[in-house]
Symmetry: C2
Subunit: 257 residues, 2 copies
Amino acid sequence: MLPPTNRGSAAVTAPSHATHRIVSKLATIAPLAEGEREAIERLPIQIKAIASRADLTREGDRPSRFCVLLDGWACSHKVTGAGRRQIMAFHLPGDLPGLQSLHLRTLDSTLTTLTPCQVGFIEHEALRELFQAQPRIAEAFWSDTLVEGSIFREWLLNVGQREARSRLAHVLCELVMRIRALGLNDADPIQMPITQTDLAEAMGMSTVHVNRMLQALRGAGLITLERGALTVHDWAGLKQAGDFDASYLHLRRRMVG
Amino acid sequence: MLPPTNRGSAAVTAPSHATHRIVSKLATIAPLAEGEREAIERLPIQIKAIASRADLTREGDRPSRFCVLLDGWACSHKVTGAGRRQIMAFHLPGDLPGLQSLHLRTLDSTLTTLTPCQVGFIEHEALRELFQAQPRIAEAFWSDTLVEGSIFREWLLNVGQREARSRLAHVLCELVMRIRALGLNDADPIQMPITQTDLAEAMGMSTVHVNRMLQALRGAGLITLERGALTVHDWAGLKQAGDFDASYLHLRRRMVG
DNA sequence: CGGCGATTTGATAATGGTCAAGTGCCGTGG
DNA sequence: CCACGGCACTTGACCATTATCAAATCGCCG
């Protein structure tokens, strides 16, 4: 009668620190009443430790549950027939990657960890019941998927229209803003555990060119990025270089200038 | 006591042919019960005729209503600080562009007509009331925004990773599929009232290069596109050239091979 | 007929890709 | 403690795709 053993640690009832991450994330976007927060924190969640560079779900899967990233970084990506990879989104702690599976039958991108991660899994059914009981919570989750859409649009603008240096600066600005909005890493340097190849695949450029553009930004005195640690020396300059305006993130409170 | 005159025709109660467009569109994505269809068709809608190349809503607006495109083509786009435009999405009849404004305070892209259009406007309030009465309808609308997100991801892959010829073929495949799925234009040639400059701005390439790539596709015997009329001579070949797989459109019924 | 926008063509240039090789960092195992 | 191996990063040389600029043609509408 013992629970089945799983790879990684598992707990079916919510340690509230896990579901609380969801509340914090949603709170950056939509207002939540106290009762709503509590209801979300009572969601049954199963927590697992996942290794770095492991696929959580794949394109075409039809999962019966969705993920909450509790700790670590992940990304969603797709690959062309010619084998070229595009990272569609970087996921930070609190993100709900693949929430779309709640309403769309099949997943259209692959979800992969970039670092070792703590991931929470919540059954669609549990969320659906919660939505029935408290429809306003559904609105908050819906808002989250809408913000995700807004970020995709900005990425499309970025990849389609901005030249390499500006494109890179823009992505760095976004990551800094999102990390700060979560209150994860307020002090410099900011932990940014992704490779230059990851950045390249997110921006539709070659790794070599990312390297050179990083050097350009460093040379201009805007940033340093070494061993996964980013220091922004000139936030205004970086914003300008990246043509960055945070409104597309739809954050309720602005953190940095 | 006469109703105020508007540019274009206006009617505050729904002619069901207008709201029926919404039902048809949603039905391509999510199943709807008969009662749900009827409830949607009773939504109060105000219909206006809009000229070609006119902005319906702009980035930063906070509208109290959202649009249904009833007839004609439109697009959403954003502009970089350097003045370069990216079209984020083409909107066909039945589309609900800017539905995001229901939950996000400000719009993050500009909605512009590409042809003369018939547009329906529905107050957010009316939709919110409908969602309260029939939560399953909210799911259908949510699904629509999720499919929109899926399309953005595919566009990102397209713009970021596919070379020009393939990128163009992919966009054409998508438009053909979406038009066919709506049952708008089953016969060849397909009306495609957009300029090569529009295509260029959607794909992040120059107009000149779009022109050359169109010639390449024509030279390969795949299509002809002249005066807004597209004929696909070799659908399988076009799909292959565009590395096209329609699953990201999340259509419930597949129309074309 | 005139004019304007859309399309087409040619010539030139640049951004950024590819290829190849070398350096540095870090964890593993002897 | 040190040698090894692998991966990330860096650099240089070369080149391809695609942008830009300029001008001509076409088609449509008034």
